[in-house]
Structure formats: structure tokens, C-alpha cells
């Protein structure tokens, strides 16, 4: 049992740190609240969709911004989508960068956009890694026969 409670503490602390660092916000808790016996993997499912969708958007943005004549309308549309989805799962820092990104897009500021793209990729990688770590901890707790603390 010592193993499980250690893991549980690790999980709680780690999760708390994500909120403290602003990587996640209250919306993530809302997702948690939607997970139950009928939807036991809801959070992982939504987050997986977010990962897939974000990678697609980031690839599109990279392509669009590296073209001769940048289509800022396309940039705006993609950033809007990324902003929306990150907001929907509580990926706060990603969402925040998207706001600045969108403004640069509206100003047709290529340099600003490129900087934002770099930043948003950075923040996305962070939230992806951290969420994957969090899910791994959950799996470890479950494998050890424990319950994941909420």
C-alpha cells in the first residue's frame, strides 16, 4: 500500500504544479468532472483529439507562414481553431500564445507570427509532455490497484 499512496501523492503534487504553472486551468477540471463509469476514458480521449488536431494545425501554420505570399486569413482561421481547442481542454498557456498570435496575424506581421508560432509550439510541447506524464502516473496508480485521486 505504501507504493500506491506514494504514487498518489506524486500524482496530486504533479497535477497541482501544472495548475500553479498555468499550464492547465479550471477547464481541465471540468473535463475531469465529465469522466465517470459510463465514460471512463473521457479525459484521455478528448486530450488525444486535442493532440491530433493541434499537430495538424501547427503543421498547416508552419507551411502557410513559410510561403512567399502569406495567406493571413488562413493563419487567422488556424490560430482561431487552436485557440478554441486549447481553451476547451484547459491548456491555458497555449491559448494565451494564440491570442497574441492572432493579433500578429491581423496586423499581417510576419515576424510576429513566426515568433508566435515558435512560442506556441514550445508551449504545446510542454503541455503534451506534462499531460502524458500525468496520464502515466494515473496508469501506474491503477496498475498498483489504487484509485486516482480527484
Amino acid at each position: 500500500m505504501a507504493g500506491v499512496s506514494q504514487l498518489q501523492k506524486q500524482f496530486v503534487d504533479y497535477k497541482a504544479s501544472l495548475f500553479q504553472e498555468g499550464v492547465l486551468d479550471e477547464q481541465f477540471d471540468q473535463l475531469q468532472g465529465l469522466q465517470d463509469e459510463s465514460n471512463p476514458n473521457f479525459v484521455v480521449e478528448v486530450v488525444s483529439l486535442f493532440f491530433q488536431d493541434s499537430e495538424r494545425l501547427l503543421n498547416d501554420l508552419t507551411k502557410t507562414l513559410n510561403q512567399q505570399g502569406v495567406d493571413f486569413k488562413k493563419v487567422g482561421a488556424n490560430v482561431h481553431q487552436l485557440k478554441g481547442s486549447s481553451s476547451s481542454i484547459g491548456a491555458q498557456r497555449v491559448q494565451r500564445v494564440c491570442i497574441a498570435f492572432r493579433n500578429y496575424g491581423e496586423e499581417h506581421n510576419i515576424e510576429g507570427c513566426l515568433k508566435s508560432l515558435q512560442l506556441v509550439k514550445h508551449e504545446y510541447t510542454i503541455v503534451k509532455n506534462k499531460l502524458e506524464t500525468l496520464f502515466k502516473l494515473e496508469q501506474q496508480i491503477l496498475a498498483a490497484g489504487g484509485i486516482v485521486p480527484r
Binding site: 471540468q30 465529465l34 473521457f42 482561421a77 482561431h80 485557440k83
Partner: protein
Amino acid sequence: MEVMKSLSDVADSKQQQEQQQQQQHFHVLAVDDSVIDRKLLERLLKGSSYKVTCVDSGDEALKYLGLIDHDDQKPTDSSSLTSPYPQQSSSEQEGSKVINLIMTDYCMPGMSGYDLLKRVKGSSWKDIPVVVMSSENVPSRINMCLEEGAEEFLLKPLQISDLKKLQPYLLKTLDQPSSSIDSSNNLVVEEIGDDDHDGQSKINEEINKGSVMNNTNASSISKRKAVTTETSDRIPKMKGLVVA
């Protein structure tokens, strides 16, 4: 299933029971281009025992409603119970399916939620309540939608508490279209108080009207979160906006 309209105590509990049963058959058409938001919305709605059909665009929504002619019936990710497209021809909408509520995102590529709203309100589905959702808090946009007949404007991301706001509109559809709302349905109208002293937050006040309203669109703005506004950017009070 007939809905009882008696107001006596005994009939009330029976009515509640029947309403609950009816609620389990409430069918919501959800329109959103974001796969994440569709999943969220579907989960939220199914959690309230509603049937959900998800489509990813205004065009798909119109097809589903039979308002566009379509040759190929390719389903989108409607992971819900009903099949996407009607069996009958597009002219027989009301007979082929029941929809109690349409929820649509505002910003979508192609047809916007506003465009969809207009199309719906100009069709035989005009009595179906339409709720518009957006991640952006833009007063002019909100006003535009409410004036076009949207029942409600919700800010994304939606939360469980937002679903409670949908109840009155769904219950309304239990009655015949032309009838008035039973006072026991407790129609909730939300007012935005124009009272941010420090320019920080708007407070929702829920007013329980309780009086009988004649099939008017009790449009309102729902704001779950604090809205930071400049003093020049206040949202005016909106109360029971009546749509002609």
C-alpha cells in the same frame, strides 16, 4: 405521450415524471467544426440524457434538416443514436424527425452559426430553439444573434452548469408550437446587470418570471465567466427580447 397541463399538486409530480421521460427523448442537433468541441458537447448533452446528433458544418446541418438537396448521404461523426439523414424526401421534415434544440458554434468555416440561424428561422424549423455558442465575447455579435431569434448565446467552453439554461427551451417544445408556456415550467430569464463598478465583472441575475409568456423567444445572454470590459464597452441590459 400526452403531456398533462394540470397545475394541481398531484398532477404536478406526474407532470414532472412525464417531463423527465420526455426529456430523455430530447434530441439536440449540435453543429461545430471543432472535433474537440463536438465531443465535449456530445458528452455534456448525453450526460443530461439527451439524444445528440453532431455535424461539423452549417451545410451538414441544413442537409440534416432537409433544407438542402443532397445527392450523397455521407454521415459525419454522428456517434449518437440516430442516423444522420432522413428516410423521406427533403420536403417531409417535421414528419421524419424531431429536433428539440439546435446548438451551433458561431465561427465556422463556410456557413457561420449566424447564417445557419437565419436559415433555420426562415424555414419550417423556425420554432425550434437555436442556441449560439462562441469562444469570443463580442457584444455586437451577441446582439445580432439574439435579434435574429437565437434563444441563448453561450460562451465557450461550455460547462455542465450551462445545460441548466437549456432546460426551459427544451421543455417549451413539449407544448404545441402556438400554445403558451405553463407557469409551472418556471421560465428563467437572465439579465446582465450593468453594474461593474471596478470594470471587472458582470453579474448574472436569474429572474424567475413564473408568469405565462406567449410563445415569445425569451432571448437572453448567458455569461458564466467574468467579463472584463472597458467603460465604453458595456453590454446593455437585455430582457426578454421579443422577436417579431
